[in-house]
């Protein structure tokens, strides 16, 4: 069964540095998402991406964040000037529709900011 893959599984970065989290969505999916889960808390929506542009974003997704689909397979989340509170699990998801379609999640990247 096709799956969403995320790399790296764990990223350790010094505060203030930039990180890029990578995702390979399921190949025939058209809708892509990033979520964040701080340890012990709920999964929070960050951004959705469709047709090479952001379709919706949350208040968390400020100028510090950006997403890109640099080629036909990868979907990346860039976090600039990382802060301690950016430490969390970041999940990528994809779906083949926006309404009434399940999202398929990767296993996440654990981001640790020191």
């Amino acid at each position: 069964e096709p799956e969403v893959t995320q790399t790296p599984s764990h990223q350790v970065t010094q505060m203030g540095q930039e990180v890029i989290l990578r995702c390979v969505p399921i190949s025939n999916h058209l809708y892509f998402y990033w979520y964040r889960q701080i340890l012990g808390q709920k999964v929070e929506f960050l951004v959705s991406f469709y047709n090479n542009e952001i379709s919706e974003k949350s208040e968390i997704f400020d100028d510090q964040f950006s997403v890109e689909r640099p080629d036909g397979s990868n979907f990346t989340l860039k976090i600039r000037s990382t802060k301690l509170e950016d430490s969390a699990m970041y999940f990528c998801a994809s779906s083949d529709g926006v309404s009434n379609q399940p999202q398929h999640f990767g296993d996440g990247t654990r981001l640790s900011i020191l």
Partner: protein, 111 residues
């Protein structure tokens, strides 16, 4: 803001028993979904129920939806130790891309 909230926060049962988890939300929705998350893993989609449906079954799972009360329940019958995980409800509304997850119910099934 639209938000799913589950209860109980944690549930511990014996293998073979049924587990019921509840979810409430605040605004109109297009559908409601339930996901499972094993420790350290991503979320796995379990079942989706559209807003015009009241009940849906899938294997040992039964989901109900009451849009008048803005609530849903997930029933897992004949639970197994492998069902031990966190369960989240998630809501989405028509025309929106945003999916809102609740805080989750941690289910522990004792063998």
């Amino acid at each position: 803001s639209q938000q799913g909230e589950e209860d109980p926060q944690a549930l511990s049962i014996q293998e073979g028993e049924n587990a019921t988890m509840n979810c409430s939300y605040k605004t109109s929705i297009n559908n409601l979904q339930w996901y499972r998350q094993n420790s350290g893993r991503g979320l796995v989609h379990l079942i989706l129920i559209r807003s015009n449906k009241r009940e849906k079954h899938s294997g040992r799972l039964r989901v109900t939806l009451d849009t008048s009360k803005k609530s849903s329940s997930l029933l897992i019958t004949a639970s197994r130790a492998a069902d031990t995980a966190s369960y989240f409800c998630a809501t989405a509304w028509t025309g929106g891309f945003k999916t809102i997850f609740g805080a989750g119910t941690r289910l522990f099934v004792k063998a």
